[in-house]
């Protein structure tokens, strides 16, 4: 089972050391190509003009913010059920990244909303549920650090992550279930994407770049956390 394979911290350290440079390099290459396509090699929209280019940051950040939360929720379940030590480290390392992506979504969405909708912010179901996602991430980080015992903090945060998971389908389907100012999905549709190929290419390139960046940072943060814990354990041993 993959789970047991990666549960061994030493094996994780060895493999992650090898793949980090590849994901890091991939991020840089994808970002360069993606930004070139987004800013230079894609047409303005028939309605929105050049404002559509905000989409190439906004949508990838949103996808990554959601993917990050799903990752944390799965790792939280693994941590609570199977007690794998690496699962806690994964949650703890991913949450601040999720905060970053969610702030990018909200900020770029606000900047995009003003010229297209005519407002920076409204309390519609999509915008509000994404704001709740930000608070879930912040709550997760606070709970992780709220206890003297690291394990208890991780456990409390894992429970919060699982409860908050209910927000993910709400974010995704809010635009279909209720009247919102935010438009429905363009890509994940039954009748195929309602976006021209010339705009889909930069969007997917940027999305891949964001995901690669997330994986790179996640692995680096997990490796750092492992090293910190080893140092603590060593100090403890030498002190006694």
């Amino acid at each position: 089972m993959v789970l047991n394979f990666f549960a061994n911290p030493n094996r994780f350290s060895r493999i992650s050391a090898k793949v980090v440079p590849w994901f890091g390099g991939g991020t840089i290459i994808l970002l360069i190509i993606g930004i070139y396509f987004s800013l230079f090699s894609s047409p303005p929209d028939y309605q929105q003009g050049n404002a559509v280019r905000i989409m190439y940051v906004h949508v990838p950040a949103a996808w990554t913010a959601l993917a990050c939360y799903v990752f944390i929720a799965i790792m939280s379940a693994i941590s609570l059920i199977y007690k794998h030590p690496l699962a806690d480290i994964a949650c703890r390392s991913a949450a601040p990244l999720g905060v970053g992506f969610t702030i990018i979504v909200l900020a770029t969405g606000s900047l995009w909303g003003k010229p297209t909708w005519g407002t920076w912010w409204v309390w519609d179901a999509r915008l509000t549920s994404v704001l709740i996602l930000l608070f879930l991430y912040l709550g997760h980080i606070s709970l992780t650090h709220a206890f003297d015992s690291q394990d208890r903090g991780a456990k409390a945060a894992a429970v919060l992550a699982l409860i908050g998971f209910i927000n993910i389908p709400i974010i995704k389907f809010s635009v279909d279930w209720w009247n919102t100012l935010h438009q429905p999905a363009s890509i994940a549709r039954l009748d195929g994407p309602s976006i021209d190929t010339s705009m889909l290419v930069p969007l997917l390139l940027m999305a891949l770049a964001f995901i690669f960046y997330f994986i790179t940072m996640l692995l680096i943060r997990m490796r750092t956390e492992l090293a910190v814990r080893k140092t603590h354990a060593l100090k403890y041993k030498m002190g006694h």
Binding site: P43, G118, W178, D196, M199
Partner: protein, 151 residues
């Protein structure tokens, strides 16, 4: 049953119950979750005159009029049409056939006085040349004539 199987069951059952509870809750407060009503929906809601709410629809062709700083236009959901008056600056995307959301209240004569107008843009993205080509070849899908636009 092993302990970890018990925990797995506990997590799954709790999540299932939580999901069920949330679904019931959300459907109960649905009226507060929608951002706007469509013109045909407001008939069924008991909305008092001067009560502030939002109305969403498509701007009917040929109904936009400007006089001084006032604008007036008609909003439709293809079942019912309502005329709207608004004083202020309209968003850039405001045009005929565009989905818009107006915030304001109903007057006694059945017209809607808006204090804010927002443009609702759809999920279609394409370059101008493609849009022109589709329109000239008659393949332009009149998405706004479909009820699907209002979910």
């Amino acid at each position: 049953m092993k302990r970890k199987h018990k925990r797995l069951l506990l997590v799954l059952v709790s999540l299932g119950l939580l999901g069920l509870g949330t679904a019931i809750l959300l459907s109960a407060i649905e009226d507060n979750l929608v951002f706007f009503y469509t013109p045909s929906e407001i008939e069924n809601k008991s909305i008092k005159n001067d009560q502030v709410f939002r109305i969403g629809g498509v701007v009917v062709n040929g109904t936009i009029k400007h006089s001084n700083s006032f604008s007036s236009f008609s909003l439709t959901d293809f079942r019912k049409t309502i005329s709207v008056t608004f004083k202020g600056v309209l968003p850039d995307l405001f045009r005929e056939g565009q989905g818009v959301i107006a915030e304001g209240s109903l007057k006694a004569d059945g017209t809607f006085t808006a204090t804010q107008v927002l443009a609702k843009h759809d999920e279609t993205y394409m370059p101008k040349e493609v849009a022109d080509k589709l329109k000239s070849s008659g393949l332009w899908k009149e998405k706004f004539s479909k009820n699907e636009y209002f979910n």
